[in-house]
């Protein structure tokens, strides 16, 4: 039972960061219909930025986190303007290939800059974990969970309580009508990609110190993000949040009780099973009937 509680606790922390990854991608995928292969690279970028600021330059860790999120958002905006905007009228296959190209370039740039050796990020938190009864949780992980929940809450507020969020929701429903209503679609797309990338970078920035930072860390992250989006339904933030926790839970329990080697397969199996039996996701409302 103790083991189960520990797994549960780990899952909750992991789930929070997975949720950030998922929310970012569901916004991009949902509003822009772009299969964003570069999403995982923004995740890695976030981690490497924290490494740069906190470890390499020796500056404040929390500053590193903030810089990572902002830099991630800016990089996302740049990618959108340079690569995606000219491709607006192209078909989905072509856009996907451009994003694959971006993924290759970004990952290998990271490999070139930092080398393939895993990097560790030292954090200002005490090493000794906090022990509550039968379970222990490290201060770092507690902080990560808190930060993730904060960002999830901020995303929710952004989408549901701000003008920008309203415009994004309108674009998700029907881009043409939104444009007729005066929404600046170009700007919304850039903003969406920037926000989504910022969230991915945040997830990477938070998990980088927990695990290690490697150039290929984004690959699995990207696929897991897709699993979460599919679980929760396109464009559905609460679905992505719940999906993130479900995936983390399935991974932890699967790794703990079935087999740790197949841990990463859980995400893929979820994708396959959900897509084949409920293609609209577990929580999606039915799309508008054409």
């Amino acid at each position: 039972m103790d083991q189960f509680l520990q797994h549960l606790l780990n899952a909750v922390m992991l789930g929070g960061t997975y949720a950030l990854l998922g929310i970012g991608l569901t916004l991009i995928f949902g509003i822009m219909r772009v299969v964003n292969f570069a999403h995982g690279e923004l995740y890695a970028f976030g981690a490497y930025t924290v490494y740069l600021v906190a470890a390499a330059l020796g500056l404040n860790f929390f500053l590193g986190l903030v810089v990572a999120v902002i830099a991630g958002a800016l990089l996302g905006a740049l990618i959108e303007i340079l690569l995606l905007r000219p491709m607006r009228s192209a078909d989905i296959d072509t856009v996907m290939l451009v994003m694959i190209g971006a993924w290759i370039v970004m990952q290998n740039t990271e490999l070139l800059l930092w080398g393939g050796v895993a990097k560790a990020i030292i954090t200002p938190f005490p090493d000794a974990p906090l022990v509550i009864g039968p379970v222990s949780i490290s201060w770092l992980r507690l902080f990560v969970l808190a930060a993730a929940l904060l960002l999830i809450g901020a995303s929710y507020v952004l989408i549901h309580r701000t003008k920008l969020g309203k415009a994004m929701r309108a674009t998700f429903q029907d881009a043409d009508t939104a444009a007729l209503m005066g929404v600046n679609i170009k700007g919304i797309f850039t903003a969406t990609f920037a926000i989504g990338s910022g969230l991915a970078a945040a997830a990477g920035a938070l998990l980088g110190p927990v695990f290690l930072v490697t150039p290929t860390m984004g690959d699995l992250a990207a696929l897991k993000a897709f699993a979460i989006v599919i679980l929760g339904g396109l464009g559905n933030i609460s679905g992505a949040t719940i999906g993130g926790f479900i995936l983390a839970f399935v991974e932890e329990i699967g790794a703990g009780y079935i087999s740790s080697g197949y841990r990463d397969a859980m995400g893929f199996l979820i994708i396959i099973v959900v897509l084949l039996f409920r293609p609209t996701g577990l929580f999606a409302r039915a799309e508008r009937v054409g």
Binding site: V35, I92, M96, A102, V105, T109, G261, Y262, I272, P279
Partner: protein
């Protein structure tokens, strides 16, 4: 002139080992040739049938592993039953590899084609990754990361002439050329036929295709099966050439390599995968003295983006168009007269 061209290239291909001294270049030709076969198979599914399947390496790898395991033999326990297989001749492995890959193509195809578009892409990637993780973790069967080694080369039996075992590169080169030729002919025949037309119709307009009586699922799955079997054959060639394979063969990066070959060469054209394959097979060789692998990949990524932006149809169609333009410009006077005649055709 146009008809003579393929024959010309064929003769060049066949005579290469006679004058090429460099064994390393021959090695590159062989591996490039194998990847071109895989790229051609992907082109059938991606270029002609229009399905962006990004899990193609799964079929390549399944073919490789099935072929290797057939020839090496195995002894595993599955759900409490002991399954033992004695080694079979390597050449049988080629066919087992194709059949195993074809069956996977059927299963994965039937399941994946329940969805379309971006979801289809994600499902295909997921299947490939699951396959990789199985190869990595089912150590009893696949040796996991320790790899399957000592895979024997093919032995061809010529009745009356005795056996011939393909030990050296030259022999293997001709085998790859032969298989490549067969693969090319299969695809060429297929896309020019009624079946091929149905597949192309699915790429163009699935709804319209269904409304004139084309069974959408049936032809999508057929494309997947043929494509997979061919990739599996290429995988077997790869395994028996390198004589060692490990789960890295299932890495997504190999699918990306095949996709880059098809897209830059020209999807939906017969020559596209070949041109793309040659470029991306030899680019690493050319760049090796100047650039580290990471830099090379940055160049490939950049090149792919550039081609998608500038030549979205790929190199071969662009070449065909410029050749056609050049041909028509040299025949301009006669053409202008012909155009004048057709212009006066009346009626709305």
């Amino acid at each position: 002139m146009k008809r003579a061209l393929p024959a010309f290239w064929l003769i060049i291909l066949l005579t290469i080992p006679l004058w090429l001294q460099d064994q390393y270049i021959l090695h590159i030709l062989i591996t490039t040739g194998i990847f071109i076969i895989a790229a051609m198979s992907l082109n059938l599914l991606l270029g002609y049938t229009g399905q962006l399947s990004l899990g193609h390496v799964a079929f390549f790898g399944i073919g490789a592993y099935a072929s290797a395991l057939t020839t090496l033999g195995f002894d595993v326990e599955v759900f409490g039953f002991r399954v033992v297989h004695q080694p079979w001749p390597a050449i049988v492995g080629l066919f087992v590899g194709m059949v195993a890959a074809g069956i996977s193509g059927y299963v994965i195809g039937r399941l994946s084609f329940k969805v379309r578009g971006a979801y289809f892409v994600i499902v295909t990637i997921s299947f490939a990754e699951v396959t990789r993780l199985i190869a990595l973790n089912w150590v009893e069967l696949t040796q996991g990361p320790l790899a399957l080694t000592n895979i024997p080369p093919y032995t061809l039996a010529f009745p009356g002439l005795g056996d011939y075992t393909l030990w050296n590169k030259t022999a293997y080169y001709y085998l790859v050329v032969a298989v490549g030729l067969v693969a090319y002919l299969v695809i060429a025949r297929l896309v020019g036929s009624r079946i091929g037309r149905a597949m192309i119709a699915l790429k163009e307009n699935e709804t319209l295709a269904g409304s004139v009586g084309i069974d959408v699922t049936r032809y999508l799955v057929l494309a997947a099966v043929v494509s997979a079997a061919m990739a599996g054959g290429a995988g077997s060639l790869y395994a028996h050439y390198l004589k060692i394979i490990d789960p890295d063969i299932f890495l997504f990066i190999y699918t990306v390599t095949m996709v880059i070959m098809v897209i830059t060469g020209g999807k939906g054209t017969l020559a596209g995968p070949i041109v793309g394959g040659i470029i991306f097979g030899f680019l690493p060789v050319i760049l090796r003295p100047f650039a580290a692998p990471a830099v090379q990949w940055i160049l490939y990524g950049g090149l792919m983006i550039a081609i998608v932006f500038v030549l979205p149809q790929g190199i071969v169609p662009a070449l065909e168009r410029s050749i056609a333009n050049w041909a028509s410009s040299t025949r301009k006077p006669a053409r202008a007269m012909a155009a004048g005649n057709t212009e006066s055709r009346g009626g709305p």
